[in-house]
């Protein structure tokens, strides 16, 4: 949900080609630096973070195709949500059926004797008369 971002570059003169598409805007940027290694962006005007695909249009002119990262963009609001949790790494109930666990075709057999296992080991003759 929260990402660690490095090598931040700030642009103030980017041209947004389709500003109405806040979910997936396309931005052109002129940059002296090579931007092809970048893959994430933040547009404060849209209050969103984006996954970025960088395309070289021509020398020093880059086109960024963005798609909003809805998780990171609204991380705080999302963390404040109360939801029914289906699965979690730390909080779970092991007694609920879990299809992620597979069963081998073979089984193991175990025997456990009762604590007085020899009660029938003796014998005696019983005579009944009238």
């Amino acid at each position: 949900m929260t990402k660690t971002l490095t090598n931040e570059k700030v642009f103030t003169d980017a041209r947004i080609l389709n500003a109405e598409e806040v979910e997936s805007p396309t931005i052109t940027i002129i940059s002296e630096d090579d931007l092809t290694a970048y893959n994430y962006a933040r547009v404060d005007d849209f209050n969103r973070s984006y996954f970025a695909t960088v395309e070289v249009v021509r020398d020093k002119l880059y086109k960024l195709s963005l798609e909003s990262d809805v998780l990171s963009s609204r991380a705080d609001a999302i963390k404040n949500l109360t939801a029914v949790i289906g699965r979690n790494s730390e909080k779970y109930n092991a007694y609920m059926h879990d299809n992620e666990m597979a069963e081998f075709s073979y089984k193991t057999v175990q025997t456990k004797m009762f604590s007085n296992p020899n009660v029938f080991n003796g014998y005696s003759y019983l005579l009944t008369t009238v």
Binding site: E20, F46, R74, L81, R87, D98, F114, Y125
Partner: protein, 545 residues
């Protein structure tokens, strides 16, 4: 609180929209985005094209024939009679749209819902729903409560204050800027019945159980009454018989004594053959070493010069002890996939329900009839887990553990049965006398007479002994539990990469690691509809916090 939600949306490029009441959902954004037949053009204003008075309001109701309501201007209200007619509650519903903003660029297109009571007086609480363009371009239109623009999706709720005082709900429409069109259906009288029908079939969603007749009243009482091992019955089975524990030497001596002349003379007065005085000779798989008092063996009214250890109580308790059945995996597999059987000597394997005995101590006891070898075996289950303390006998079986030895051809089964019936009936009679149970007294007395008659009948003579129970002599005599467990493949990274089943409501900030959401309401998240859909997909398909 009862509430209804409606799904309204526009069929693209047609001048109509639907009310699909049975679906009871809301999808206003689509309706508003498209307007009442308006084409959205990102380069122009929404609803740029005027809504014509001839536009149709199309109402669907499942398989009911579609109904077209002419939106023809100046008619009066379209009356909806909702499901709940109690308390004089009527809801009048008139639907249209309007464009409320009068100054370009138009930022709002409202659907206003105003309320009127039965006297046609306007009720406070008008709700205006605005189509708002958030980002100055007309790419995103959403339905807001105009008052606070908080993103509320239009929802009609029974019990909401807007319905107090039997209001009329009217939605006003504007054909063009400042030109009011009230889409109404007063002229379409026949539509009223249709709409009544439609509403009458709308089942209100109930957020909480209201009608306990439909939901039951839980009491969450998990307590159990303990069903304990029976105590040995205080009855005298040997009123007319005598049972002795014998050693090999004792048996040899007895045989010689029975064949001696003086004893034969005595016994011949009572029995066809002297050996007929022996009811049974059995091998019991029990040491019975506590019986050590030697007595002369009694036959009829006589004692003979042979000794045996007298069995003073023919009902004998055998305690096999217990087995603790523990979880192996510590999860659902121990309960769902594990098979448990109990080997009960002289009975064989019986299946135990895993959910009954897992994580429990099971105790096995027998009560044996030392005259006949018949027994009852009981399994007690004691478990204190999952907030339930359970300690009761829930399994019982019967069998016979004696190996009969051939001694004589006499079959005294009738005699033994007679003895038993007599004793039982006698006890029953005594009990009935004590409690004043007349019918029990009669029944018991009849049983006693019948039993005595059987005792006095001549024994049936047989030529050979019965070896049918010989198998018990060589059978496995160790009681044990057989547990068959599956082998489970649990990837080491499953917990971190996929988590485990949870099904509990949490605030997401309380969680870490891999998380899958099963149900969540994203109404309060400021995202576009598409983004919300995408976010919901992500939350439900799994993500890391």
């Amino acid at each position: 609180m009862k509430y209804l939600k409606f799904k309204w949306y526009n069929q693209s490029r047609s001048r109509e929209f639907e009310i699909i009441a049975p679906k009871i959902e809301v999808d206003f954004p689509t309706l508003i985005t498209q307007g009442l037949g308006m084409e959205r053009n990102v380069n122009t204003m929404p609803f740029e094209e005027p809504v014509q008075a001839t536009n149709l309001l199309k109402i669907f109701h499942d398989t009911y024939p579609n109904l077209y309501l002419p939106a023809n201007g100046t008619g009066t209200d379209l009356n909806f009679y909702p499901l709940d007619n109690t308390q004089n509650r009527r809801i009048y519903f008139n639907i249209s749209n309007r464009r409320s903003a009068t100054t370009p660029p138009y930022k709002y297109t409202d659907i206003a819902v105003t309320l009127y009571d039965d006297n046609n007086n306007r009720v406070n609480g008008e709700m205006n729903f605005a189509v708002v363009n958030n980002f100055s371009d007309y790419t995103q239109t959403r339905l807001y409560l105009a008052e606070d623009k908080n993103g509320q999706i239009f929802t009609i709720m029974y019990g909401h204050q807007m319905y107090t005082n039997s209001p009329v709900v009217t939605v006003w429409g504007y054909e063009s800027v400042n030109q009011i069109v009230r889409y109404s259906s007063r002229n379409v009288v026949e539509s009223k019945n249709t709409l009544e029908y439609m509403f009458s079939n709308v089942m209100p969603l109930e957020r909480y159980p209201i009608n306990t007749d439909n939901t039951g009243i839980p009491n969450y009482d998990n307590s159990s009454d303990n069903i304990s091992f029976p105590s040995l019955p205080d009855v005298n089975i040997q009123a007319f018989t005598h049972t002795y524990r014998m050693t090999n030497l004792m048996l040899t001596h007895l045989k010689n004594e029975l064949l001696s002349d003086n004893v034969v003379d005595i016994l011949n007065k009572w029995f066809t053959k002297p050996m007929d005085s022996i009811v049974s000779l059995n091998i019991a798989p029990l040491s019975l070493s506590e019986y050590t008092t030697g007595e002369d063996i009694q036959v009829g009214a006589h004692t003979i010069n042979a000794t045996g250890y007298k069995i003073t109580n023919a009902l004998y308790m055998v305690d096999c002890g217990f087995v603790d059945i523990s979880e192996y995996y510590g999860n659902f597999i121990d309960y769902e996939k594990t098979v448990i059987q109990c080997y009960i000597p002289f009975v064989g394997f019986i299946s135990l329900k895993t959910v009954d005995v897992m994580s429990a101590r099971i105790t096995l006891k027998y009560i044996v009839n030392l005259v006949t070898g018949d027994f009852n075996a009981f399994i007690n289950v004691n478990r204190n887990k999952f907030d339930v303390n359970f300690n009761s006998i829930i399994y019982e079986t019967t069998g016979n553990m004696f190996t009969q030895l051939p001694i004589t051809s006499a079959d005294y089964s009738n005699i033994i049965t007679g003895v038993m019936n007599t004793i039982t009936s006698g006890a029953m009679t005594a009990s009935s006398v004590a409690t004043g149970n007349v019918s029990g007294m009669v029944s018991g007395s009849t049983g006693m007479i019948s039993g005595i008659n059987q005792m006095l009948s001549a024994p049936t003579i047989q030529r050979s002994g019965n070896f049918n129970k010989n198998s018990s002599l060589c059978a496995i005599k160790t009681p044990f539990v057989l547990i068959e467990r599956p082998r489970i493949s649990i990837p080491s990274s499953l917990q971190s990469d996929k988590g485990y089943e949870c099904n509990v409501s949490f605030k997401l900030e309380e969680l870490t690691g891999y998380t899958e959401v099963r149900h969540v309401n994203l109404d309060g998240i400021d995202l576009t509809a598409n983004e919300k859909a995408r976010l919901e997909t992500i939350l439900k398909s799994g993500f890391y916090i």
